[in-house]
């Protein structure tokens, strides 16, 4: 546990002392602000649904940048050898990296609650969909971080890691379209692999255990395979 805490502290420090975190957060907030303003003044409805869909797309684009360096950089610098010859387990290393990535995602999500506060100040929003939307974003961020971590664990090249995770994200984003052309029962199977299929209910205020289960499963799978990737030596 102490090893995990030390590694997490190191990771969080490295993440927040690099300019990438701040540029990402700033870019994220600018795009969010723009989306919020346009949706708010056009629709005049106290809802964050548009914002959630925008954040969903932005997560697909930004999470690869957050996760790409996590293990690929350690591999490239050779510092992975230092970590893996210290009395810490592969699982501790992977979990610390995952939690560090999540810390930035949580910060970004927390910053975006400013729009919910604005809604609360100037209108009477329905809080149910807002809570579920944020829960959905957290779960989405978690699943994407775990997949990003996995691609980062497989290569020493950060760009390759980022592109690979971006490719997987985009495929999982649009795979439900592929389900439309498949016969039964494959259509259901493929549609249920989609990130979008499981995100829409969260964003619109419907909570299903299956949707949460999907993101949790992706997270666990990503973490498990990352640990395996580090263990293969």
């Amino acid at each position: 546990m102490r090893g995990f805490k030390l590694l997490l502290f190191k990771e969080v420090k490295a993440l927040f002392s690099s300019e990438i975190a701040y540029v990402l957060a700033a870019m994220f907030l600018v795009v969010m602000g723009y989306t919020f303003s346009v949706a708010f003044f056009l629709n005049r409805v106290a809802s964050l649904v548009h914002l959630f869909f925008q954040m969903y797309v932005l997560f697909l684009l930004t999470v690869p940048i957050i996760t790409m360096r996590l293990l690929a950089e350690e591999r490239r610098l050779g510092t992975l050898e230092l970590l893996l010859t210290s009395p810490v387990s592969e699982a501790q290393i992977v979990l610390a990296k995952y939690c560090a990535a999540m810390s930035l995602i949580v910060v970004m999500v927390i910053l975006s609650t400013s729009y919910a506060i604005v809604l609360a100040l100037f209108g009477q929003p329905d809080w149910g969909p807002i809570y579920s939307g944020y829960l959905g974003l957290f779960l989405l961020g978690s699943a994407l971080s775990a997949i990003g971590l996995l691609t980062s664990s497989l290569t020493a090249n950060q760009i390759v890691a980022a592109l690979a995770s971006l490719g997987i994200f985009l495929l999982l984003w649009a795979i439900d379209d592929f389900g439309l052309i498949l016969p039964d029962p494959y259509d259901t199977l493929v549609t249920n692999l989609s990130l979008s299929t499981h995100f829409v209910p969260f964003a619109t205020g419907s909570l299903y255990l299956s949707d949460a289960g999907y993101y949790v499963s992706l997270t666990l799978l990503g973490i498990f395979l990352s640990v395996r990737a580090l263990g293969r030596r």
Binding site: L6, S18, L77, G78, L80, E81, L82, S86
Partner: protein, 337 residues
């Protein structure tokens, strides 16, 4: 010279007491896909020994060290470090070892003190202990003025020192160093050598290098690795250093031997082969603490009117051993053995 080489096969290693040895490696094999990097090597290192692992690039040194430190898993074979089984308890093994990998991997974005404290804590030291240990190791390695500096801004020599410091900071029982003097200037090389020598008897040190001269200067004992095979594991470097002298002298053999035997510090004299052109070759072994033996031998022989044609330091020549062993190995391979 032949007495100092124990040409090796897996059978003459005693694996029975891994607990009392610092490092016991038995029949280690490692495959990287279709390529076999280690072909069943076995060796034992006693506590306090400084042992050199010598071999050309690509001979399997780094693979061996990575397995001993728990970074790589062997395909077959066993590794015990201070009685801890590397395969069954890799985390326990890692807390016993300080390791300096070949490429000196360090976190460039960390300050020296921060990095050393991080490693010390990771190795299990408490907060206060880590602080003290970092201060001690920084003083020992002359890193005090650089503690607040970013690692990325350090020169190669200081990076190497930081790498050594991180290996020493947790006061491990066993130190494993991979090419520790690579890329250093002569002054830094001497400092690193002195540091390693100062650990002799205190810690067990396994140091890999492809530089023969380096091994002669730091190791008590040298093991030679070639193409994943251990060709020799017991070339005693320091025990035989500077106390063997080869002489070529004319004159009656018993008289020459008698004169040599009377010289102060001579332990043993042996005539090697028959005389050629009236000159016979003698190997003189002196006490290891004796200095100026060569001068006294020459003086005594000339005083007794023997003709001295050659006087040479015949202390162990690692280069020659290495060349002989690799040649023999290649011949054997050629014969399909």
């Amino acid at each position: 010279m032949a007495t100092t080489i124990n040409a090796l096969s897996a059978e003459n290693i005693d694996p029975t007491t891994p607990a009392s040895t610092a490092i016991a490696v038995q029949n280690l094999t490692k495959w990287y896909g279709p390529r076999q990097a280690l072909k069943g090597i076995s060796f034992v290192i006693e506590p306090g020994e400084v042992v050199g692992l010598l071999g050309p690039n690509g001979s399997g040194k780094t693979t061996t060290l990575r397995i001993v430190t728990g970074y790589l898993r062997p395909t077959r074979g066993s590794v015990f470090v201070c009685g801890v089984d590397a395969l069954e308890n890799p985390t326990g093994l890692r807390s016993l070892i300080g390791y300096v990998p070949e490429d000196i991997p360090l976190y460039n974005g960390m300050r020296v003190q921060e990095f050393l404290t991080f490693i010390a804590r990771l190795k299990g030291l408490g907060s206060g202990e880590a602080k003290r240990a970092v201060a001690e190791v920084a003083e020992r390695l002359g890193l005090e003025p650089f503690l607040k500096m970013m690692i990325g801004k350090l020169s190669r020599g200081y990076r190497q020192r930081v790498a050594l410091a991180q290996a020493l900071v947790s006061d491990p029982k066993v130190l494993v160093l991979d090419e520790p003097t690579n890329g250093l200037d002569p002054e830094q090389i001497i400092a690193t050598r002195n540091l390693i020598r100062s650990l002799a008897g205190v810690k067990t040190v396994l140091v890999a290098s492809h530089i023969l001269a380096e091994m002669e200067k730091v190791a008590d004992r040298v093991m030679i690795l070639l193409n994943g095979r251990l060709l020799a594991d017991r070339i005693m470097v320091r025990a035989d250093k500077h106390n063997r002298i080869r002489l070529s002298v004319s004159g009656a053999r018993d008289q020459v031997e008698a004169v040599i035997a009377q010289v102060e510090g001579v332990r043993r004299v042996e005539c090697e082969g028959s005389a050629r052109n009236g000159f016979a070759t003698y190997i003189v072994e002196g006490e290891s603490f004796v200095e100026g033996l060569a001068g006294r031998l020459a003086e005594a022989l000339v005083k007794h009117r023997f003709m001295l044609a050659e006087l040479a330091d015949s202390s162990i020549d690692l280069e020659q051993i290495f060349l002989d062993l690799t040649r023999r190995h290649k011949e054997q391979d050629g014969e399909g053995l």
